[in-house]
């Protein structure tokens, strides 16, 4: 499914990226990315909540959060997730990052590993290590677009977004890239996303900012409900501008950064959905009028994960009965179904739990025809709301996932 064209990606002073073909899985494909972070930058991350987290996630989390050493390099390979690989997987991730640390003369703990691809196969350590010299050669401040390409798996196109913002006449930038098209129901982070800005922010504030941005972007999308073992999202603040450190959430700089960061994350998250496996529709699910955000999310995700709703979306069939059935099994306590209204692209479909008097099949079909569909549910019992984004369920989803390893 075509979406917006990838924005022109702006360099972030203090960050260089290199991308090469190491031959991890498919010869000639760009599959190894190195991201270099200037000394003195601040770096925070969020990682998958899947209990089976991959070896690189285990290593990256530990180094980022427990060593007190600030990362200088992020090493990313595609083609192999290094997940379900046990102790050998930890050793493989450690060996690849050691090769980077040796060459750059930094501490091993200053290099974080990231992997994506097939689960359960041994990581080809020698293949990766032999490409390390080239990937250092390729480092460039203008390497974002090529890196966005180099981290893809089943994605059909790269995802990257830049936003600038000004504070007191000074101009700053946030740039981010992300990948992921299947096994997408991020839980704390998406499959892989790398974000950088050139402002200076205290570490705990940077972590808060990332958590806020992820909560309203990557944590609000789902393709298939399958949380990946390798989800990771990293945010770097390089501080190359030499401006004073942001240390107070009340500062205008903080708010300007937060807004720009959220815009980048939401745009990247939506780009993942537009490129979701087999997707022919971009679906926004808005649930309003709940007693709290959680019950709105429960309804939204039950709809977003219903195979019957998703196949009806694929067929552009206004089968609103499947929406009612999904709402009804979402587990909302004491739901009064006689108050529930359902809109598709602003056409009132069901009112008070049954077909709206004004509804006709022709109106429903017209509402379901566009590529972008907004399903709005009004629970009419409280003041809370929530939005998630998802895809439909097509023959191509089955094909892509039936053929993935062949």
């Amino acid at each position: 499914m075509e979406g917006d064209a990838i924005d022109e990606l702006l360099a972030v002073p203090g960050v260089r990226l290199g991308t090469v073909s190491a031959g991890v899985k498919t010869p000639g494909r760009k599959d190894l990315v190195l991201l270099e972070i200037a000394d003195g930058a601040t770096c925070v991350g969020v990682f998958t909540q899947n209990a089976f987290c991959a070896a690189p996630v285990t290593v990256a989390k530990q180094r980022l959060n427990e060593t007190g050493i600030s990362p200088r390099y992020l090493l990313v390979n595609t083609g192999n997730a290094n997940a379900g690989t046990g102790e050998a997987g930890i050793e493989a991730a450690t060996a690849c990052t050691a090769a980077v640390a040796d060459r750059a003369r930094v501490l091993p703990a200053a290099v974080l590993p990231f992997s994506t691809g097939v689960i359960g196969e041994p990581l080809p350590v020698e293949t990766i290590c032999s490409a390390i010299p080239q990937v250092f050669e390729a480092l460039s401040e203008n390497g974002w677009a090529e890196a966005a390409q180099g981290i893809l798996t089943t994605d059909t196109r790269p995802k990257g977004v830049s936003r600038t913002f000004s504070v007191n006449g000074e101009k700053f930038v946030v740039t981010g890239i992300a990948k992921g098209a299947g096994m997408i129901r991020p839980n704390m982070a998406t499959m892989l996303a790398f974000l950088a800005t050139d402002v200076v922010v205290e570490r705990h504030l940077l972590q808060d900012l990332l958590a806020q941005a992820v909560a309203m972007s990557f944590n609000r999308i789902t393709v298939d409900g399958d949380t990946s073992t390798n989800d990771a999202c990293v945010l770097v603040a390089t501080g190359e501008t030499g401006t004073p450190t942001i240390g107070d959430p009340e500062e205008p700089q903080y708010c300007a950064l937060r807004d720009a960061l959220c815009e980048v994350c939401v745009a990247l998250a939506q780009a993942l959905i537009r490129d979701g496996e087999g997707a022919s529709k971009f679906v926004t699910i808005d649930v309003n009028g709940g007693y709290g955000e959680q019950e709105c999310l429960d309804v939204a995700y039950t709809i977003a994960h219903s195979p019957l709703v998703k196949t009806a979306l694929f067929a552009a069939d206004p089968n609103w009965g499947r929406l009612l059935a999904a709402i009804g099994r979402a587990g909302v306590p004491e739901l009064d179904v006689d108050r529930v209204d359902v809109f598709i692209n602003n056409i009132l479909i069901a009112q008070g739990g049954s077909r709206a008097a004004t509804y006709t099949e022709e109106l429903g079909e017209a509402a379901m025809a566009p590529q972008d569909i907004t399903i709005r549910i009004e629970l009419n019992r409280g003041e809370s709301g929530a939005t998630v984004w998802t895809t439909d369920f097509s023959y191509d989803y089955v094909r892509i996932n039936a053929e993935y390893r062949t």
Copy 2:
């Protein structure tokens, strides 16, 4: 997918069934079933837990559980679910059952309505009422097989099972029929199932027996996780044999009935899965070694609902990484992934959370080849276990549900 041939269905003294073509949706298709219950029989039921329950479910539950009047007739139509139809749906269900009550000279509350088919369209009351005389004409003790045909929707074949059992030299029978192929994740009952026996049982014991049998059969299957708005399961004990009433769960008669009833329900539930929409595999998911049944069920259903696992099953691809990823996101508290073993058709695939040393891709492919697949997960932390049955996810599932209303 072909399964066992339908058993020869045995008559249950005290129950007669009639099946005709009323023309509810497709002309000429058998779509209206009347089940007549002898005076003095005991009848219990379980119904969908979906908050959007259909009008006939609302009416049937109220009449069965709140009026004190024992049902004499069950009226079942296919082609229209009479769900999402509001007050008009209640009136429609009431009108159809009134036509039966008039003709049979019984109280209106002694007739229970059941509907299955498309959600959200008005029930064609006149079409159904005009076929009532014919369906009375068709009543016969040997009408089970035809009734099993008459309640189908997207099912490709009828499902019915009989079991006999003897107590003190006397022979009894349990016969049941069921329908359902999509929107199958029963919650307290399957889409529609009708069961009868000729023993005499006290009402509260009969309700307990049904709950026990449903818990280990219809409540352990899933096709797509979509709980229907119309699920209902009814059990009739006619008492036509004239034997003493079963009034004590310690009696051998009670145990014999319970065993026969469970056998019938499990066989019917498995038949629903074998005929699941687009199913090419019959998948048993056994989860053992949990701290309690609930966490075993959480793991089993997370696997059973994972689109990635289901498409891999369709492709006969031993993609065990997807199994690990599903186990890891099932929400089991403090799961130690390094203790988890995974077997497919008794081949050890993953041991201690990563690929088993003895595993080869050839072994995995051989294990995935048969139509019947058993995925066994050993959590190795407690003594509990649970089993669920499910299907794979195929092109045909998408096709059937994209084309359902066209």
